[in-house]
């Protein structure tokens, strides 16, 4: 049904003011180093470079319009559509506009329930206009979160739940704590990111 053509990592703006959040330029640099070996995922610093924190739905809107702008313009009757031949010889026509989906852990679905954290209208736009891909996370039952919300239930066909066959409880919180305690995080992060953290003295516990 789908063919994934790209991945975007969008580090949050400093003005999000989350505890222990190091400066955006570091977080962007580290993501870039981590993605050096990837041929399909990229970092996009746009969100982090804005003057203030912005809602996720606005980031989605921005990247979607960027995607539209980057599409090749075609003339003629088949304007905006791509063709290819199926193995049986019949023509396959599919829309050339890619869909942009929000990729996250299943825990994000739970945060939709937190009062005042998300605007209802935004949640609706995210699941209706864009769609979500939620990767399982230990201790979270995404099906439960969906069935507990009318909006999520209505658009559940647009919320793709991915079960992670290799359970991995790795979290940034764990990494920061380990670094603070002088413990090794080798093989949990790419070597290039570990080197960057050491060179810039990040997560030493002196600042928060």
């Amino acid at each position: 049904m789908y063919k994934v053509i790209g991945g975007i990592i969008s580090p949050v703006n400093d003005n999000y003011r989350k505890k222990d959040l190091v400066a955006a330029h570091h977080r962007v640099a580290m993501a870039r180093l981590a993605l050096q070996t990837s041929d399909w995922i990229q970092v996009d610093p746009w969100e982090s470079e804005q003057a203030q924190w912005m809602e996720t739905v606005k980031v989605l809107r921005h990247h979607h319009s960027e995607l539209l702008r980057s599409l090749p313009q075609t003339e003629g009757p088949d304007h905006g559509r791509a063709h290819s031949l199926a193995p049986t010889g019949s023509a396959l026509v599919f829309p050339a506009v890619p869909e942009l989906k929000l990729l996250c852990g299943a825990d994000i679905l739970k945060t939709f329930q937190t009062p005042n954290l998300w605007k209802e209208a935004h949640i609706q736009e995210i699941v209706e206009k864009f769609g979500m891909v939620c990767v399982s996370r230990t201790g979270h039952n995404p099906k439960e979160y969906i069935s507990g919300s009318a909006i999520l239930q209505r658009y559940q066909h647009n919320i793709h739940l991915v079960r992670e066959p290799v359970q991995n409880e790795l979290s940034s919180t764990y990494i920061r704590r380990a670094l603070c305690q002088g413990q090794s995080v080798k093989y949990l992060l790419p070597d290039a990111v570990i080197t960057y953290i050491k060179e810039h003295n990040l997560y030493t516990g002196d600042s928060s």
Binding site: P165, V166, V185, Y187
Partner: protein, 280 residues
């Protein structure tokens, strides 16, 4: 405690490494942090010893590839290396023998080092004087401080510890010697289960001070079995194994439904050996 008073430790990990994964590599890092953190030990080296093909485990691909992958995986490590002795033996080698081999190697190279020192530092007249002083128990002041030989310890996950309970997989004398003469460092998520397992075994209980249980707070479920399954299903193993290992696997198309069928119907070497000896 001064560095010179700490026991130097070499961590030895035995296993199929079919293929090596980031989890295997994490075991070393967790064990090193733990042992160094006790203040009593100083971990000086980590050794990965892939098992020989004669082990006959289902799905075990050639030792040649498994060794190369482990070497690629430890290319960027300053202290963990691969040893091929076990993999090059014609017959399967008991873990105890591998431990013994590495301990003897350490003792041999330590001996050479100690033999060199007197020649260099006490030629001619000085030696005579030193010998006289020796008689008066002044030995420590004149000889270079001789370090104790580093100790080899077996590094493993909880699965190995619990495999001690599988009938005929291990000789009970071997288990006793492994924990008694060498020691075990076991990385585990379920500390309580491991402690219970030790409690329920007289041999393990007796040497419990030589069994170090290290807690792995975050689940890291990357097993070689899952890696091979993902590969057969065309799923990504990126970020689960080092990039160089992933590229090597792809280049040589190492894991397939066919490779997983290797040794099917063949009895695992230790089971074969221990059952035969029990029946003889």
């Amino acid at each position: 405690m001064e560095n010179s008073e700490k026991t130097e430790v070499v961590l030895l990990a035995c296993g199929s490494f079919n293929p090596i994964t980031n989890m295997h590599l994490r075991l070393f890092e967790l064990a090193k942090d733990y042992m160094n953190g006790t203040g009593k030990y100083r971990v000086i080296k980590g050794v990965i010893s892939p098992v020989g093909d004669a082990y006959k485990k289902k799905g075990l691909i050639s030792a040649h590839h498994r060794v190369i992958m482990a070497e690629l995986a430890t290319k960027n490590s300053e202290w963990v290396e691969v040893d091929t002795w076990e993999s090059l033996q014609k017959d399967w080698v008991e873990t105890l023998k591998v431990l013994r081999h590495h301990q003897e190697k350490l003792e041999a190279s330590s001996c050479d080092h100690q033999q060199d020192s007197p020649r260099l530092e006490r030629p001619g007249r000085k030696r005579k004087w030193a010998e006289q002083r020796q008689d008066f128990g002044q030995k420590e002041l004149l000889e270079p401080k001789t370090k104790d030989v580093p100790k080899v310890k077996l590094l493993c996950g909880a699965d190995l510890l619990e495999s001690f309970g599988v009938p005929n997989l291990w000789k009970s004398e071997d288990i006793t010697r492994i924990v008694g003469d060498y020691g075990l460092i076991c990385i585990t998520r379920a500390g309580n289960d491991a402690e219970k397992f030790i409690y329920e075994s007289d041999a393990l209980w007796k040497h419990r001070n030589n069994i170090h249980l290290v807690n792995e707070w975050i689940t890291n479920d990357i097993s070689s079995t899952k890696i091979r399954r993902a590969l057969r299903r065309g799923q990504s193993i990126r970020y689960l194994v080092p990039d160089l290992v992933r590229e090597y696997i792809e280049k040589h198309d190492l894991y397939s439904p066919e490779s997983e069928e290797r040794n099917v119907g063949v009895v695992l070497a230790p089971l074969q050996k221990n059952t035969a000896e029990a029946n003889s």
